[in-house]
């Protein structure tokens, strides 16, 4: 068995006023997809947000390639373990400006902006026209915004993607393009995906998969 890429142990956090909490442990190996399952309101999104350090856990620990998460600064961690919310968030400005936004932050500044061909490659794989780059991001449809948000995350070259219903806004064709891109992305380097999805197709698209019930 390969050493795990991301391991989380006894992560817990209260999720409502009544004192209900989630407690979760699990792991993903490189090239693997972990599906988080559970009834609505069971804390699936909360778990992804904790893993992405957008929310703080009340207890528990996470390791990325054996390194405890608190030895990595929060902004650095968030780049390595990218969280994508279910409702895609885009900012004022063009799509291009949205894709390059993270490269204006101190942390990514010195890495240099991604090449146009890299961006165009992703657009092509997700069947988005190059002309979309100059479009105002606020005018994108839900499905377009979801794909742009995914490209923005991929350009940061994370090791783990935390995807909350990534195909919710997509029709069948676009769904399969997106899943194909995710598989290709995962095969290239030691990378993994943790996903919440209600769609069986999303799950079946990955050959190396396992699930976690919470």
């Amino acid at each position: 068995m390969e050493p795990a890429l991301l391991v989380f142990k006894d992560l817990s956090r209260q999720i409502d006023e009544d004192g209900r909490r989630i407690v979760a442990s699990g792991q993903v190996e490189p090239g693997q997809a972990l599906f988080v399952k559970g009834s609505s309101g069971s804390g699936k999104s909360t778990l992804l947000r904790i893993l992405g350090r957008i929310l703080s856990a009340q207890s528990g620990e996470v390791w990325l390639e054996g390194r405890p998460w608190m030895t990595i600064t929060a902004p650095q961690w968030r780049l390595l373990v990218q969280y994508l919310p279910q409702k895609p968030i885009v900012f004022d400005g063009t799509v291009q400006e949205n894709l390059l936004l993270p490269f204006r932050f101190k942390l990514m500044e010195r890495k240099g902006i991604p090449s146009p061909s890299q961006i165009e490659g992703y657009l092509k794989k997700l069947k988005l026209p190059n002309g979309i780059l100059t479009q105002s991001a606020k005018t994108l449809s839900g499905g377009e915004a979801a794909r742009i948000a995914l490209i923005r995350a991929l350009l940061l070259e994370p090791q783990v993607l935390l995807l909350d219903e990534p195909t919710a806004y997509l029709d069948d064709d676009n769904r399969s393009h997106l899943l194909a891109l995710l598989k290709e992305w995962m095969a290239a380097k030691p990378r993994a995906i943790i996903m919440v999805s209600h769609n069986e197709q999303d799950l079946l698209a990955f050959t190396r998969r396992h699930s976690l019930q919470i």
Binding site: R53, Q76, I89, F91, F105
Partner: protein, 263 residues
């Protein structure tokens, strides 16, 4: 002070007419403001009378040992007043407000009094107290506006702030668009007043000086100094309040605090 017309007690009593007019409108429309109006009128009269006596003594003594405590007291009252109306902020902003208000007012106030006006002695109470008072009053409103706007902007854009964090932003980088809006909200009224002054309104200070018999040319010079000093004081105050406060919206791991989410 040639054209100065003093107001006698009888003349002062005639202001009751004005209070009655205001009261009638409030009663007519059932604004529920009658009690506040009466209480406010009494307070304003008593406070101003008292301060008149106090200032007489302070101007006569004219020593830093009296002036400094008065300025600090003014700052304390102003900072309490600035934050009293802002109830939604998930922490107590008093100390930060006091620091921003005091620093901005003292920095700008000292420049104006010592460098520009240059009275003898340099700390002349007759110059320092009114100048600092105007700065406190103006900065107080600006800081209150700025703080309120910062909080409501961030509270209204939690998903966006979290998305920026997820993209590797530091807390400061995550909130900077909202900080900009807040600082500009705090500064806008002062900047606007620079635009219309003299065309739409004669500001209070200038009006007072002209009524007190100063020639308009000199009053205008004073008023200009006052306006630009207010603008810079507001800029410093707003910048300080956001720098001191934004961090309170984040926990030690750099994610947004719980109180912001739940409120």
């Amino acid at each position: 002070m040639d054209g100065f017309i003093p107001i006698s007690n009888t003349q002062l009593l005639l202001t009751v007419i004005l209070v009655i007019i205001t009261g009638l409108i409030s009663a007519l429309l059932r604004l529920g403001l009658l009690k506040s109006l009466l209480w406010g009128t009494v307070r304003a009269f008593v406070q101003l009378t008292l301060i008149g006596y106090v200032l007489n003594y302070v101007f006569a003594w004219n020593t830093l040992w009296i002036i400094i405590p008065i300025l600090v007291l003014m700052s304390l009252i102003a900072s309490r007043e600035a934050t009293r109306r802002i109830t939604r902020i998930p922490y107590n902003p008093n100390i930060n407000t006091f620091l921003s208000l005091t620093t901005s007012t003292f920095v700008v106030g000292i420049i104006v009094v010592v460098l520009i006006i240059g009275p003898e002695p340099w700390y002349s109470a007759q110059v320092m107290i009114p100048i600092f008072g105007m700065l406190f009053g103006n900065s107080m409103n600006a800081i209150a506006l700025c703080l309120d706007r910062m909080y409501s902007e961030i509270h209204g854009h939690i998903a966006e702030v979290e998305q920026r964090l997820a993209l590797g932003a530091t807390p400061w980088e995550a909130v900077i668009p909202y900080i900009r809006k807040a600082v500009s909200a705090g500064m806008t009224p002062t900047i606007n007043s620079l635009m219309v002054v003299g065309l739409v309104s004669l500001p209070g200070m200038m009006t007072g000086q002209i009524l007190a018999g100063m020639d308009p040319q000199s009053a205008v010079r004073y008023q200009f100094v006052v306006l630009v000093m207010m603008a810079s004081c507001v800029a410093i105050g707003c910048l300080m309040i956001v720098l001191l406060s934004y961090r309170k919206m984040f926990n030690t791991d750099g994610s947004l605090v719980e109180e912001l989410r739940s409120s």
